[in-house]
């Protein structure tokens, strides 16, 4: 199986399969079903400097090609993740994990990034500037090359670990934003976050959350 080996921003993986952030919690749940070390790695749930409750229900709507979600970055906050989740993860997962972070300002991105980058388990920082499901921060940073570069620089300044910027497809020219991130010191880009979507009732009424479409 050696031909599946890949090098992701300087870290060797024995295969290129990584579960996407938000679909895999902090790893423990899936560890009950199969040995998650079979994965190359995974990106854990988007983690913010402070705990966030997320959006009200319903957060999920099925559609023929996948699902719409509007979770809204529910997470216990970076300190609780380091205190509670990472030690539990270490018991079941023995590879570097990708830390997915989100925040409201470049300063806050740097705060979450610095704390997580200090954790030995964390291999890469995946910086979510593309979440369509939060009002403040998230996608607004990923829609503008200047703002994207500013977040990249803020995170770059606090760590030597690989910084991967997660971009939104909901923009006119994603290449321009990717280039801005690269110029600001990003090691890679993660493509893509969810597409804006809405499920429409044939009778003309919107049904379910009008948010990110996943699983395509």
């Amino acid at each position: 199986m050696e031909r599946l080996n890949v090098n992701l921003c300087g870290i060797e993986l024995d295969n290129p399969v990584l579960a996407a952030s938000g679909t895999f919690g902090y790893g423990l749940e899936f560890a009950g079903i199969y040995d998650i070390n079979l994965l190359g790695s995974f990106s854990f749930k988007g983690t913010t400097p402070e705990a966030r409750p997320g959006n009200p229900l319903p957060r999920i709507a099925e559609c023929p090609s996948g699902m719409l979600n509007a979770v809204g970055l529910q997470n216990p906050g970076v300190d609780a993740v380091i205190r509670d989740e990472l030690p539990r993860l270490r018991e079941v997962f023995h590879k570097p994990v990708m830390a997915n972070i989100a925040a409201r300002s470049p300063l806050e991105y740097a705060e979450a990034a610095e704390k997580l980058a200090q954790q030995e388990q964390v291999g890469w920082l995946e910086v979510n500037i593309s979440c369509p499901n939060v009002r403040c921060g998230g996608m607004s940073f990923g829609a503008d090359p200047k703002a994207a570069a500013e977040v990249t620089r803020a995170v770059r300044a606090v760590t030597k670990k690989p910084v991967i910027m997660k971009l939104s497809p909901n923009v006119t020219d994603i290449a321009e934003i990717a280039r801005a991130c690269e110029d600001a010191g990003a090691d890679g880009v993660s493509l893509i976050n969810t597409l804006l979507g809405m499920r429409i009732d044939l009778n003309g009424l919107p049904r379910g959350p009008a948010h990110g479409l996943a699983g395509l």
């Binding site: 938000g22 679909t23 009950g32 229900l57 090609s65 529910q74």
Partner: protein, 245 residues
């Protein structure tokens, strides 16, 4: 939690909308009444969650109401069909604190997890009272099955066409209830909490993504923050709950 292949052993109608299904396979992970399973259906992206109505070593049963495309398909699957099932999901009801006369309240298919619970409580020498609510006489099901356990249910219909006319909450005032257990729509669960001072456990039914705690698609507010209905629930104690205004 376990992910296993099951074979449909029985699939028969109880009413126009509700089917009884029994699925044969390895049920070792299903340990508590109130737990649920999640079925993968051909052609559907998300699994469908259902409460376990009862179980034995080689099979479990479900009561499935047809509400949309997935449940409509499930009703048509013949015996012999193989289905991938996540088993042993969620926390389940606790029996230790039930007291001598617990009251079990189910609305529609919400009665499903109460069947195994009633059987379990009776086996522990307790005297559970089962109260079931339906819209109308044609919707009533599982009355005889509860009677066969020796626990004939108190029936309510909204229009009075079977049993008593009214809502299940009325029964709560009539019994010296040591503790209640309830499963049904959120509105009914809230009304039940407001109708009694007794402690209680409530099983919720919300839209789910993964069904086992990974996606945060199902969280509801509690006094200790947002909790995942699929993993921290579906059963919550009355005092844990916060209700949306």
């Amino acid at each position: 939690m376990d992910c296993k292949e099951f074979t449909i052993a029985e699939n028969r109608p109880l009413t126009e909308k509700v089917h009884y299904l029994r699925l044969a396979g390895d049920t070792a992970a299903i340990t508590m009444p109130g737990q649920f399973v999640s079925l993968s259906l051909p052609g559907f992206f998300l699994r469908r969650p259902f409460s376990v109505c009862d179980r034995d070593a080689g099979s479990f049963s479900l009561l499935v109401e047809r509400v949309g495309d997935g449940t409509a398909l499930l009703h048509t699957l013949p015996a012999g069909t193989n289905v991938s099932v996540l088993t042993g999901l969620g926390n389940g009801f606790t029996c230790e604190q039930s007291g001598d006369q617990p009251v079990l309240i189910g609305g529609g298919t919400g009665l499903s997890p109460l069947f195994w619970l009633a059987r379990e409580l009776a086996a522990q020498g307790k005297r559970p009272v089962v109260v079931l609510g339906f819209r109308t006489a044609a919707d009533v099901f599982f009355e005889e099955e509860f009677c066969a356990l020796g626990i004939c249910p108190v029936l309510f219909t909204e229009d009075g066409s079977a049993g008593r006319k009214g809502l299940v909450t009325e029964a709560l005032r009539e019994y010296d209830c040591s503790m209640f257990y309830a499963c049904g729509r959120e509105g009914m669960l809230r009304a039940v909490c407001e109708a009694t001072h007794a402690p209680g456990e409530l099983a919720f039914d919300v839209r789910m993504g993964c069904g086992f705690g990974a996606c945060m698609g199902c969280s509801r507010p509690t006094v200790s923050g947002m909790k995942r209905v699929c993993k921290d629930g579906p059963v919550f104690r009355k005092e844990e709950l916060l209700w949306n205004a």
